[in-house]
């Protein structure tokens, strides 16, 4: 890999042993992918590791070595959501004990993050790119992001350029302010090797569509046709929220780091079907195909007829528009069922800055939700499910990512609303 004289000097140890190790890591990473050179990271970083788990001591030791050498990221960074928020979601005494055993180093870890360049105390969210949070890179910006749902959003919807980086190497790149140029950061790597033809009767559930695409194409790049008929051309807050959820499902059910949507996402608007690589494969998605995918999900609850203990909505975190939409639909579902309170404690997960913006814009609705046992939380529901006691309870979700990585059971949005209002999905059927 070509290095400038300044980069070579760091690799030779002229700026200290620790920075030399950082450069060795990034160069070895690039060489594994035949990267031509390092390119400057112009956007703010986003890191995946937000949890102070007792079991990842080697990671904390590495961070301390960086801190002791006086190193930090070139620009302030955001990071994934915290695992707990006891003032909103109190899991009970026993679960608190278990959480403290699992995430006992949370306080020390957050202190490390501050020393390494954390943006602020509100910087904990997987949707750092939302306007209220503000870590929204411009089109064409090189990044070294890690969180898979943020990577696929940055690449696809914002047109930024980042690979799917792992925890640790993201930080190394951000300390150097440089990333090796390969894969999804290159024009060749952004070509689509799959054409997805959407032939459904209406706008599909975003989480289900993303799942079907991810399960089929795995880590490849899909070019999606037919979705613009339902979403409209170009981007707006509604389509951006839809693509956020679809992308997160494709990244977790498969390993998609970039997708193109004809007439919608920026590169597809500019280049159209020229984005398709020679020899691309085709996958047709119909209503029947989506039903097949839905029915294939395993149910990991011990009792498939159980009444849910909690409902989680918002993995990845909800947008401001989604928060308002869920609140209105829950209001309506409760009214239709003749209920004043939710039948199941319900958590709408959103970034701290998004939750605060919602509270300021809708103070009455915010207070009413509390009375309904519906709460806005900034936690990562995936981290919540890492507690084996919490994971053994029947948790319902509208998130396909949460379904993939935990025992939470996936329900379509209409069923989730019925669950919230009555404790049972539509028609009382669980299976």
């Amino acid at each position: 890999m070509y290095l400038t004289s300044a980069e070579q000097a760091i690799l030779d140890g002229q700026q200290g042993e620790t920075l030399q190790k950082v450069m060795r890591s990034v160069v070895a990473y690039g060489e594994a992918f035949d990267a031509e050179c390092l390119v400057p990271i112009e956007g703010s970083p986003h890191l995946v590791t937000s949890f102070g788990a007792n079991t990842i001591q080697p990671y904390f030791d590495m961070l301390q070595e960086l801190i002791d050498a006086g190193l930090k990221t070139r620009q302030p960074f955001t990071v994934d959501p915290r695992p707990m928020q006891y003032d909103v979601l109190d899991p009970g005494l026993l679960n608190r004990v278990v959480f403290n055993l699992i995430f006992g180093k949370q306080k020390e870890y957050e202190a490390q993050l501050k020393q390494l360049g954390l943006k602020d105390d509100n910087a904990f969210t997987c949707t750092c790119y939302l306007p209220e949070v503000g870590n929204r890179p411009a089109k064409g910006t090189y990044l070294a992001w890690s969180e898979s749902s943020a990577v696929v959003y940055a690449n696809s919807v914002l047109g930024a350029l980042t690979n799917r980086n792992s925890a640790g190497i993201d930080l190394m790149c951000d300390i150097l302010g440089k990333a090796p140029l390969f894969g999804l950061m290159t024009p060749e790597g952004r070509k689509a090797t799959w054409r997805i033809e959407l032939k459904t009767s209406g706008l599909p559930n975003a989480q289900l569509l993303g799942s079907a695409i991810g399960l089929k194409v795995m880590e490849d790049v899909p070019y999606i046709t037919g979705l613009d008929a339902f979403l409209g051309a170009g981007l707006n807050p509604h389509s951006e929220a839809y693509l956020k959820d679809m992308g997160a499902a494709s990244a977790s059910n498969g390993a998609v780091g970039l997708y193109h949507v004809e007439n919608v996402t920026p590169e597809a608007v500019e280049q159209g079907q020229d984005l398709l690589a020679p020899g691309f494969q085709t996958y047709v998605i119909t209503d029947a195909e989506l039903e097949r995918v839905l029915q294939a999900y395993p149910v990991l609850w011990k009792d498939v007829q159980a009444r849910p203990a909690r409902v989680f909505i918002g993995c990845p975190h909800l947008t401001l528009e989604q928060l308002a939409g869920w609140q209105q639909r829950i209001d309506q579902a409760l009214a239709d069922a003749g209920q004043r309170r939710a039948s199941v404690p319900t958590y709408l997960c959103a970034a701290p800055d998004v939750a605060e913006a919602y509270r300021q814009a809708n103070p009455e609705a915010f207070d009413r939700m509390k009375q309904q046992d519906v709460h806005i939380s900034n936690i990562c529901p995936l981290m919540y499910m890492n507690n084996p006691l919490c994971a053994s309870a029947p948790i319902a979700t509208s998130s396909n990512k949460l379904r993939t990585y935990s025992t939470a059971r996936f329900f379509l949005e209409e069923d989730i609303l019925q669950l919230v209002a009555t404790g049972s999905p539509r028609g009382g059927r669980h299976a």
Partner: protein
Amino acid sequence: MPKQFKGRPILSGSVEGEAAVSRGGFNTLASFQKSVVLRSKTATCSDQNNPDLYNRQLNGKILCLPQTIGSTTGGLVIQTIARRGIAPKAMLFSGHIDSLAAAGVILADIWVGQRIIVVDQLGEEFLHSVENGQPVRVLADGTVEVG
């Protein structure tokens, strides 16, 4: 007569051991999550979605796989199991190594001082030939002998 394959050494070295084979993508977090959380002295594969390796021992084995999949915390998991001495001795990829595995083995090598020998691009035939429990020999130039 052992079958011989030639790949690209990413972290080179010589090692011999017993094969643990994943025909499909190897989910690093799901496979090692239980061992990491429970601080086990061995690494039993805890990924229920991996029919080839679920409940099999992975520590000290020669892990043969197409690529890793799953959470982007995968590299951090590799770093952790390397420090705890329960990592595979080697990871042998039939195709190109993926970005999550590459980051994990490189950080384990440089920051933890624990090398997991890695060879990639061994070809589809390699993954079709090797079976769980078979003896595997890895040479520093990327040559792999099976059987």
